[in-house]
Structure formats: C-alpha cells, structure tokens
Symmetry: C2
Subunit: 318 residues, 2 copies
C-alpha cells in the first residue's frame, strides 16, 4: 500500500453504518473493511453471508432501511411460493437478495474463494472500497444458551434471540487462516488506523478477533487502534448486545466494552450521554473522544467517521 | 389398483395439454402420468425438471400460457438481479418457479426421491392425479448435432434448436430403474389403456421408452396402447419435432410416427387433415381414430382426451 489507509473491523448493521460514513470520507484505496463471516451459514443449499451482504448493500446504497437487512425495493415472490410448497421460510430471502446468494454459492462451488466472490460482487455493486471477509475458511458462531447450544442463525432469527445466552464459541476459528489481505494491511507502514466498529462485541467483533493472529496483528501494528462503543446510555441501538450483557452478568456500559477490547486499543469513542465514563476509560490508558455516536442520518454516520479519523490522527501525533 | 385406470406417457407442453384434457375426464385414481425426466439438469446448483414442472403447472392451472413454460403471474426480479451480478441467465427462472426448484433440490439432497418430491409438490398444487417420473435415476438426453454433441438444454434453450441434429442418446438410461409405480400400473389387470401423448418422439417419448422394461411392459400389458400424432399436416404445433425429422431425413408425417411406435401400439389417433394417411396406418395393424388433434381451447383438450378414451374402449372390445 502506497497510500495512507485505514482498516475498519465490522459486523453487520451497526458497523455498516460507520463503514458508510468512513466510505464518504476516504477513497477506495484508503479504506478496507474486515468483516465477520462467523454468521455465514448454509440454508436452502445456499451459502448465506449476512454481514458481508449487509455491508455491500449499505455501501452501495442498496440496503433496505425498513428491515435493516436485505435489499431495498425487494420483492418476496420466491418466499411466498416457497411457503406454499411447505419450504423453510424462517429465514427471509427476497427475490433480488436470493440472486446474490445463488450466484455466490455457484462461484464458491466452482472453486472461487469467498474473498474473490466478495470482491467481484462489491465491484458489480460499484463499491470502490475493499471488503475483506475475515477468513475464507468456515467459522461458525455457536451460541450457548439455557435452552442448549445452537447455531447463530437459529438463535438470532429462528429463536429471535429469546433464549438466555451463557457463552459463545466460534467453531473452526482455531483452524482458520486470517485473510492475507487483512494481514498485509495491518502490517503496512501506511496503515493510519484500525477501527473496531460499533457492532455486537460477542457475535460480530469477537469472532474476527478469534481468528488466529488477528489480535497479535492489532497489537503489533504501527497505527492506532480504536473502538467505538456499541452501547450508548446502557442501550444498544439495535440487536441483542445489551440483552446478552445482562444474561452474561456484565455491565451494560461503554466502560465494559472498552475493558473488553482493552489489550488491543489505543483510543475509544463514546457517546456524549456516557461522558461520565470517560475518566474510567482514560484510566485504562486509552485516549477518549466524546461525540454523538447514534447514527440516524447520513450526516451522523459521516460525523462519527470523522471523529474516528481525528482520534487516530491525535494518537498518531502522540 | 382396484379402479379402472389409464397411464398417459408424456413430455412437456404438447403432452401436458392432452394430460389436462384427460384429467378433466378421469378421477385422481383413474389417471397416472409417466413423465420424461431426461431433460432434467442441474443449473445454478438446482435440480431442474422441466417436463415435470410443465405438467404440474398445467394440471394445476398454474402454467404460463404466454411462454408455454413456467408459472403464470410470474415475476423476474431474481433473474434481473442475477444478470446485474453477471450470473448465467440463458435459462430463465421466474421468482415463483425458482421456489419449486430450490425446494426440490433441498428435498433431493435430504434423501427424498424425485418421485416422492414430485408427489408432494403435485399434492401441494392440488393435483389429484399421479405424476410419475419415468425413473428416480439420472438420465440425460444428449443431442448429436453437426456442431457436436451437447446437452439437451444447451441444444434446446441456449442454441435455440439451431444446430442440425444427427441423433440422440439417453445417457444413464441403460442403468435406470423404471419407476415401480409405472410398472405396477402397466401390470395391473385394471389398466384400461396406455396413451403416448403428442409429445416430441425423439426427446420426450423415446427417453421414456429407453428405460429398460418400459417397452416390454407396454407390449405385454393387457390394455390397449395408443398414440396421438404430434405431427399434423406436416407440422408440429410447437417445438422442433418437424425440424428434427427433416434433419434426420425421415418423413414429417403421422404415418412415420405410427411406424416409429408401431411395435408398441394397438391404436393411433391422427388429425382430420391427415385423414389420407389412415389407410397406411391401418395397414400396419393399428386401429385409427381421425379427429381434431390441435388443442387450442380447453374443449379441444377434453375432446381429444375423450377420443383417446373411446379408442381404448373400442380396442378393449375387439
């Protein structure tokens, strides 16, 4: 890499919002996104990659703002016909979203890697930035709950996050090879910052951190590593983060998130409503920025992205 | 079988029209349809069964009358999105048709037979009659042409039947097991007639006749076996039958069709415009019926079906 560049580490919806903001401030060569693939699964014979697709659709402006997943201007004739046949309909796949999943599955069966397919699709969607699956190897989040261990999608979609979680494991992670492009970017002298996006720590960021080498590369990279709290005023904007925190008996605070990532971080971004936690987080040795982290509008997304880039600049100057 | 019953032997569009007519005259237990599966193929990772689906959609009143294939009230959002991704679009799959193919593929991978899946789908579509794939084993029509040997779908869809045919083979047929329900019906003392529908002899009926035992069972069954000519006044209503006849240097006549099936037949139905061929066909030892065989309206379909049933009745009385 000859250009100063950033690596954002992200899951689906919440992280994709910040990724969109970053993509409006940085050229294609300046931003790569390391994406969770541990909620990928096979369904209806198709390889589904929820976080990759959310990121692609979001960066392309093709995401469905009502659902938070899937494509905008979607139709559901496939699902309706599948329901009439008695097929499995618990995981909704729109007609146009289905094309992405069918074509990805075809290409994977033809021998392409998930990274290759993802790059090709991102290009077709007109995305200049690099979308990097954390690994091309299979990793599957398993959710331990009081109702037993289950797949992530069974927990998240079929059971609607209702069972109380007791823990997580990322099956296959120990044997997975970190995407070499992620390694290359983390080792690059031109790396200007790495950003842990405000995604669910347990099921979006931790799986990426579970791929061997990822944590060491973050600790050893020359650039500042920062995180944005997904917990704001004791709540998560979307998804089961805070519910999981309660079930795991950990505090639902930005401070806990900072603590969770502490060994990797140089800086931390927290919301103005959590200003009172800044001192505790600073006392962990982290430089903090207090700003609005709730991303409702595109301007919010760009504003938070700018704050992140500024924090990395401040840390580079230290 | 305790009821008097009929077996119709059919491919896609032309045969399905007569099958629909028969279905209006016969109760569910009185009619089974032995269907060609040699144009089944795998596409986009899916098991596609064109003739089975044409038959199911036709009997259910769900067929697309404009295209002649696929489902009525269809949408094409999947195909459009697939085209945008650079996927294979030469074989058109509507959004609702796709559900049938995805669910069939799932059930086959889960260990069900094509016969089981077909029976389940026919039931979901409200069809009381039995739809019997000729075999549950893979058989694939290969078309020999002056442009080389190719798969049936490559010839039929991708090449639009343009290459001149020099012959056909049905790969796998020699090892395929005839659907036991077809055997059971042909051996039944209650069989009242077997009808070769007006489908393409080369690529719709011959593959069924190529499954070991099928011809012997037709010759040995106690009921009359009749055929309906797919060639009327030197033309085929739809499809490449007559083009193939020219390329194979055989006469494009009902007489040739009667000759082709001769060893299996007791009777033959030909169109009024071909009345002049009746004497030649009778001279082969076949009892003929001359009627309108061009099925434009539902009444035409029922009328031809009635003529077929009457011919079998006549032959039973001989």
């Amino acid at each position: 890499m000859t250009t100063e560049h950033y690596l954002a580490i992200t899951g689906g919806i919440g992280g994709a919002k910040l990724a969109l903001g970053l993509s409006r401030l940085l050229e294609g060569a300046q931003l790569a996104l390391a994406v969770n693939t541990a909620d990928d699964f096979e369904h209806l014979g198709l390889h589904i990659s929820p976080d990759i697709d959310t990121l692609v659709y979001t960066l392309a402006g093709e995401n469905n703002p009502e659902t938070g997943w899937g494509r905008k201007d979607e139709s559901w004739n496939f699902m309706q016909a599948l329901a009439e046949l008695g097929g499995e309909t618990w995981f909704a796949l729109g007609d146009r979203d289905l094309a992405v999943n069918v074509e990805r599955t075809q290409r994977l069966r033809g021998g392409q890697t998930l990274s290759q397919v993802t790059a090709a699709f991102a290009s077709k969607f007109g995305i200049a930035h690099q979308i990097l699956p954390m690994t091309d190897d299979p990793v599957a989040t398993r959710v331990m709950t009081t109702a037993g261990e289950m797949t992530f999608q069974d927990y998240f979609v079929r059971e609607r996050c209702e069972p109380a979680v007791t823990g997580f494991r990322f099956a296959g992670a120990e044997c997975a090879s970190l995407n070499p492009e992620i390694v290359s970017r983390l080792e690059s002298p031109q790396l200007a910052g790495a950003i842990l996006c405000p995604s669910n720590p347990f099921v979006s960021i931790d799986p990426i951190l579970a791929v061997p080498g990822m944590q060491d590369h973050l600790r050893e990279c020359r650039a500042p590593v920062i995180a944005v709290s997904p917990v704001v005023g004791g709540s998560a904007i979307k998804g089961p983060t805070v519910k999981m925190m309660a079930e795991l008996s950990v505090p639902n605070t930005a401070t806990w998130v900072a603590q969770h990532y502490r060994s990797l971080l140089d800086g931390f971004v927290l919301d103005t409503v959590d200003e009172g936690m800044a001192a505790d987080i600073e006392s962990m040795g982290l430089t903090t920025v207090i700003t609005n982290t709730v991303m409702v509008t595109l301007e919010d997304r760009i504003g938070l992205a700018r704050a992140c880039l500024q924090l990395t600049a401040t840390l580079r100057d230290i």
